[in-house]
Symmetry: C2
Amino acid sequence: MSETEPGGPKVVTAAVIVIGNELLSGRTRDKNLHYLAGRLTELGVRLQEARVIPDVEDVIVATVNQLRARFDYVFTSGGIGPTHDDITADAIAKAFGVGIDYHPEALKILGAQYQPGEFNQARKRMARIPLGGVLVANPVSRAPGFRLENVYVFAGVPAILRAMFEGIRHELVGGTPVMSRTISSAVPEGRMARGLEDLQGRYAEVEMGSYPYYRMGAFGTSIVLRSVDRDQLDAAARDLKQLIRDLGQEPVEGEAA
Amino acid sequence: MSETEPGGPKVVTAAVIVIGNELLSGRTRDKNLHYLAGRLTELGVRLQEARVIPDVEDVIVATVNQLRARFDYVFTSGGIGPTHDDITADAIAKAFGVGIDYHPEALKILGAQYQPGEFNQARKRMARIPLGGVLVANPVSRAPGFRLENVYVFAGVPAILRAMFEGIRHELVGGTPVMSRTISSAVPEGRMARGLEDLQGRYAEVEMGSYPYYRMGAFGTSIVLRSVDRDQLDAAARDLKQLIRDLGQEPVEGEAA
């Protein structure tokens, strides 16, 4: 959960749970994690862990209960459609130890989009929401997601997940934003490692990640500096550029072209 | 771990741990999970869970120890380069409660590719392997991965991870292969759900997943049937096609074009 030291940065954390056998069999490539990671970072919410799990009730229940206790926000994707393999809503109810029932507003939203006689039992199933759940709007295909305490339950279809997230993001209370700068150069990782470690030693408040690249026939390294402290970030970037120049190369702000 | 009933299918399981802050900040999009998922499925190994975690020692140790006890194989990606943020090898040693030291063969492999004077301390760091670790060849950039008991430790760069996996896949002992058939049609999920649930009730040995799609302006559903029993799989596919025809549409084998 949030750890806030007096005078220190406010840290708000999150986890993502991607639910679906199709992701573990290799049928489908997940697109939601990368989207949520980027958006949460922008909002000052630190994504600390993501899990991809199958459509198995016990696994969903255990995973949700572990992660909702550890992080400020949990976002799930997948398993809220009309078919028998859509078991996320029931699993969430079980995780929270609450019942599940047709939600009047969800029934109304769903009912409005079908012709008479077409709003069958399977489609009504999408209106089953754990008791206490607050609906999350789905402007794409109507069937809503929901929030229960700190757990947001979204659809797995990327366009729907994105629309759902955009609809609730004003509710999220972010922490102190983490700012980042990326400095790239043709210095190989192995030549820069020692100087970079010294730099990390001098700037404890700046997280430094080193990412080798090979592009257009050229090797090089992008260093990502991340910090909640703008002054420390800028000072570290200045020293890093000097380190690169001392190694005989020219630093470039941003990812390598 | 493996659950093998007498006369039943042999089940071999795996988990993937993707390690790297850059995946959780949204800087980088993971490409390794989808690859490993597909390859493991082909080999008859069932990927049961994947986790994306940060470059934090305690988190890596706890995650590796949880998953190596629960699954037959664990594959990690990321964090075995030369810089200070590459902490996977040390974390694996800690997870297993073993020491870590320069591996003579790894030193030889790495030393051979640098000019005199260029094989510095940081580069030598990539030869540090937990005691008891067996090297995994890296035909791309030489710095090896390793295996310790049932845990394979690979690089995070996708081209390297793939080469490492291809080099060790003959070591993996797969279970009874899970076969699959995909049947698509223009029947919406919500219209097929009830018949599909009945079908699932009749074919307990066939896992049925329902995936709505929207392509080229047309809605429809792909049903994925998966089973270790070819006869059951084919019978379920036959009945599913009949269900689709009864709903007034033509079934298509495979994903919707």
